[in-house]
């Protein structure tokens, strides 16, 4: 059977590592991260940019990986949840999520963590309003958000003390 489409070879820089992958132009960044590169921490929840489960960082900025094609990510630095996880243990923000019970089913959690991490990197003094506003693009069906907000604020305070 003839293939329905050509594949092209691209270089992706993900979590500081170069990956050479063969992709169809229509494959979204989310699908390629998950199925070609094997980073399944990036989750897919709506494929129209509303739910935020697929959020990754592109050159440090949160973006929807379901609304980008993998070919577009060439030349950029992509960070996924695997990339913000230390080799052993958890990052201070991840620890704070655990301490504050900021996750239940955990499906939205990677996107939530990346958005929150990007916020704290930019605005180390973000108040509750700023945290809530930054997280509006990440839907969580389990937690009611309160413990997530608490976790981010606590991580912020911890960062200040250091």
């Amino acid at each position: 059977m003839a293939a329905v489409e050509d594949r092209i070879s691209i270089q992706l820089q993900v979590n500081g590592r170069q990956h050479q992958v063969e992709v169809a132009p229509r494959w979204t960044l989310a699908d390629v991260l998950r199925h070609q590169i094997g980073l399944t921490g990036t989750h897919i929840g709506c494929e129209q940019g509303v739910c935020g489960a697929c959020t990754v960082l592109l050159d440090g900025e949160p973006v929807r990986s379901c609304l980008m094609f993998a070919v577009q990510a060439q030349g950029h630095h992509v960070t996924t949840v695997e990339g913000v996880t230390p080799e052993t243990g958890l990052s201070p923000l991840q620890e704070s999520f655990r301490d504050h019970h900021a996750l239940q089913c955990g499906y939205c959690t990677p996107g939530m963590l990346l958005t929150a991490q990007a916020l704290l990197d930019r605005n180390p003094t973000a108040d509750e309003g700023a945290v809530r506003e930054a997280l509006t693009g990440n839907l969580c069906r389990c937690t009611g958000y309160q413990f997530i907000v608490d976790a981010v604020l606590a991580a912020r305070d911890q960062g200040r003390d250091e």
């Binding site: 089913c105 499906y107 509006t136 309160q146």
Partner: protein, 774 residues
């Protein structure tokens, strides 16, 4: 006399053992299951609410590069039919007709989802549309037609009245009527549904990965529907990204995936996309209640008559219809926490050309609370009384337990009045009215709404559990570490943590030394799964009973090996010792070594090894949690937008296993309640097209839509094991009623009262413009 247990983990705020893998992106959800050669499925779905199928042409799709197979009803003709209960069932792939938009018609099996969707577009189905049945009241009258020629549209009908109802109702000095409407909503777990299946070449068995709440139920359904002996089916539930009742059913897609894997001997996977999820995950809450209330001049409610109607959709969801679930139990808890002597109910559940109705967290509860609390507020407004005071006058008193309500349900002990009084204090009810009056002068409309709820939990036959009991196997390994397995199907509730807490206390081993297995029918003992708020009280009860039995065995070992009386043995921190003589101790690891390898030393009468399974069936068919929610809202009367500004909860779910996890459940339920009250609605147009097929149309609460929630706990233990009551649903049961009552309160100057869920800005504007300003 065995040493009294000293629980240390039960009730503790323990961090979850599930979290590290979820936080680091290492957890494995359904779509993360990937094996070599795996094929993916896309479905061709009905674009019509009702149509006859005149032909299906799949030739082009079959020939499309990358397509492995195309299935129609001819290739896969399983019927999702609960024969003894309903007259009709849904064919997993449409057979000659389609009955709702989104119904699966053809399945494409291809090398990946992209290619499968390409091929799905090449399938031509010839439809001959027929008039859809869309209106519940008309459907009852068999208008405009029967949905299924072989069955009446009303598939469930029931009438009930307390003796002397008519007389009591007629003699009451005051009456009011109201009609309540709940619009369709659905669970929207962040992880959509999905199933993968593959044949195990070695054993010839089929392994099914399913994103479900009930592994054994799924195995039973697959076995029963596909006529495969149960021992040849293994169901594995990977990490589940939310379920909320919606993942308690067996769906057509589950069966098609298994059939394809068996037929083509290839691993096959289907994962729902969000459009499929909104169209075909079971819907919920499509109900109308026509209510009449009789009460006296003090606000004491004497009698309620309710005509309950629910639109069950095109087919009964398998194996149970949500319409029956929503109405029949609502009719039995309609009087809530109030001592209302008379009740008369009539139920009609009907077919329509809409998506089947199933379970969504709380099922009957949010609807019953919406009615019951709406009735109380109407009585209060009718008589010009304070609504908290009317609640006080009607509330079941502490001395009345166990209380048999007008529908015959027996409530175990609860803290109804206390929960309300504490919640009123927590929110500052006293000061609110003055604040409200002052702000109203500035053109700001604040409102407060009270919702006192009862939550029937741990039902002996819950909607998710085919059985009323739960099972727990405990195995102390030769190393002294513990493996325990349960038939639960958690989807974020943290059972690996809470069950380990319970077992740690019983065995005296460290919490960290216990691993909880669940969700694999090969390792877990048969059980009902998760749903109906049963995992804590019944699953936890099973863990407790199994733990106690294992403890007894450990005590026997220790007594024998330490040459002491059983009554003198204490367990803790991985050790057993003689009370008061800590030097005379033995490590549980040493006991385990003895049990497995040094078997000659095993005390007489004990079996080799440390492994047992216990099953726990609660004595009471149901245990009631309770509590009170109070919401404060601000209504913008110029735009109709409602903001929930403050929120207080006093919750009583008996003995707490892990207060933090309980609070997480409450927060989440309140958030869903805010969605239910003011945001979420599935909307069909006049042709039966679902027009809310994306998350831009079906609005979930965001982080800024949910206020801080102030939670306090009361603990009235159940009579069951550990005093545990269920609590997964109570917060969503209570919250919508609290919020809509607050909106009604805010709009008092315009006379309106909310009678529809959810309340949208246009509805608020209509209430404002329709009412007169006092």
């Amino acid at each position: 006399m065995a040493q009294a247990m000293r629980p240390q983990m039960m009730g503790a705020r323990v961090s979850r053992v599930e979290d590290p893998r979820l936080l680091s992106g290492q957890a494995r959800f359904l779509d993360d299951i990937q094996v070599p050669g795996m094929l993916e499925v896309a479905f061709v779905r009905s674009p019509h609410a009702a149509a006859r199928i005149r032909g299906i042409h799949t030739e082009k799709a079959v020939q499309y590069p990358g397509v492995h197979a195309v299935l129609t009803h001819q290739e896969c003709s399983v019927l999702l039919w609960e024969r003894d209960t309903y007259k009709v069932g849904q064919p997993v792939l449409a057979n000659g007709e389609v009955c709702y938009v989104g119904q699966p018609v053809v399945a494409i099996v291809a090398e990946n989802r992209y290619v499968a969707e390409d091929a799905a577009e090449l399938v031509v189905v010839e439809y001959e549309p027929v008039t859809p049945v869309l209106d519940m009241r008309e459907s009852i009258l068999e208008q405009p037609r029967r949905v299924h020629p072989e069955a009446e549209n009303v598939f469930f009908h029931k009438k009930y009245a307390t003796p002397g109802f008519d007389e009591a109702f007629a003699k009451a000095p005051h009456h009011l009527t109201a009609s309540f409407r709940t619009n369709r909503q659905t669970a929207v777990s962040m992880e959509p549904r999905g199933t993968a299946a593959m044949v195990d070449a070695a054993s010839g068995r089929v392994t099914v990965y399913a994103s479900t709440q009930s592994p054994h139920r799924m195995r039973e359904d697959i076995s029963h529907l596909m006529e495969i002996p149960e021992h040849l089916v293994r169901v594995i539930v990977p990490e589940v990204g939310g379920g909320f009742g919606m993942k308690a059913n067996c769906y057509p897609e589950d069966i098609v995936v298994v059939a394809a894997a068996l037929k083509y001997k290839k691993p096959v996977k289907w994962v729902s996309d969000r459009m499929e999820s909104l169209e075909t995950d079971v819907h919920a809450r499509d109900d109308i209640h026509d209510v009449e209330v009789a009460f006296d001049g003090d606000g004491k409610i004497i009698a309620i008559r309710d005509h309950l109607m629910a639109d069950g959709g095109a087919y009964p969801a398998y194996p149970f219809s949500g319409a029956v679930g929503e109405t029949s139990l609502a009719s039995r808890v309609l009087t809530g926490p109030y001592d209302i002597p008379h009740l008369a109910t009539e139920i009609h559940c009907t077919y329509s050309n809409k998506t089947p109705l199933g379970a969504y967290r709380g099922v009957w509860g949010p609807i019953a609370s919406f009615i019951q609390e709406g009735v109380v507020d109407r009585v209060a407004r009718h008589l010009g009384l304070d609504s908290a005071e009317v609640r006080r006058r009607n509330m079941i008193r502490p001395g009345q337990f166990p209380y048999r309500n007008a529908a015959g349900m027996v409530y175990d002990e609860g803290s109804y009045l206390q929960s309300m009084e504490e919640a009123l204090t927590l929110i500052g009810y006293e000061g609110f009215r003055a604040r409200q009056a002052k702000l109203r002068e500035e053109g700001r409309y604040l409102g407060i709404g009270i919702s006192v709820f009862v939550e029937p939990t741990a039902m002996a036959s819950s909607e998710a559990g085919s059985v009323g009991y739960e099972s727990c196997t405990i195995r102390i390994e030769p190393s002294g570490k513990v493996t325990a397995a349960l038939g639960l199907g958690p989807s974020g509730q943290g059972h690996e943590t809470t069950m380990a807490q319970i077992i740690a206390d019983q065995l005296g081993v460290r919490f960290e030394d216990i691993v909880i297995l669940h969700g694999d029918t090969d390792s877990a003992p048969f059980g009902g799964g998760t749903g109906g708020s049963r995992s804590g009280p019944i699953g936890g009860g099973a863990a407790l009973v199994a733990g106690r039995q294992m403890r007894e065995r450990l005590v026997k070992y220790a007594a024998s090996l330490l040459e002491a009386g059983e009554e003198d043995i204490e367990l803790g921190n991985g050790q057993a010792w003689v009370a008061g003589v800590p030097d005379r101790s033995i490590a549980i690891r040493t006991i385990a070594e003895t049990a497995y390898t040094n078997v000659r030393k095993i005390p007489e009468g004990l079996p080799i090894g440390l492994e047992l399974t216990a099953r726990y069936l609660p004595k009471r068919p149901v245990t009631f949690s309770n509590g009170t929610h109070i919401a404060e809202v601000e209504v913008d009367i110029h735009t109709g937008v409602v903001e929930v500004t403050r929120y207080a909860v006093v919750n009583d779910c008996g003995t707490l296993i892990n207060p933090t996890i309980v609070e997480g459940q409450i927060h989440g339920g309140v958030a869903q309640g805010i969605g239910s009250a003011i945001l979420e609605a599935l909307h069909y147009d006049e042709d039966g097209q679902l027009v809310t097929t994306s998350l831009l149309d079906y609005l979930l609460p965001e982080s800024t839509d949910v206020p801080r929630i102030d939670v306090r706990h009361l603990e009235t233990p159940s009579e069951g094991e550990g005093g545990i009551k269920g609590m997964g649903e109570g917060s969503l049961i209570a919250a919508p009623a609290a919020i809509v009552n607050a909106i009604s309160d805010a709009l008092t100057p315009f006379d309106g009262m909310v009678d529809t869920l959810p309340v949208t800005p246009p509805m608020v504007l209509q209430m404002v413009s329709g009412g007169r300003t006092r």
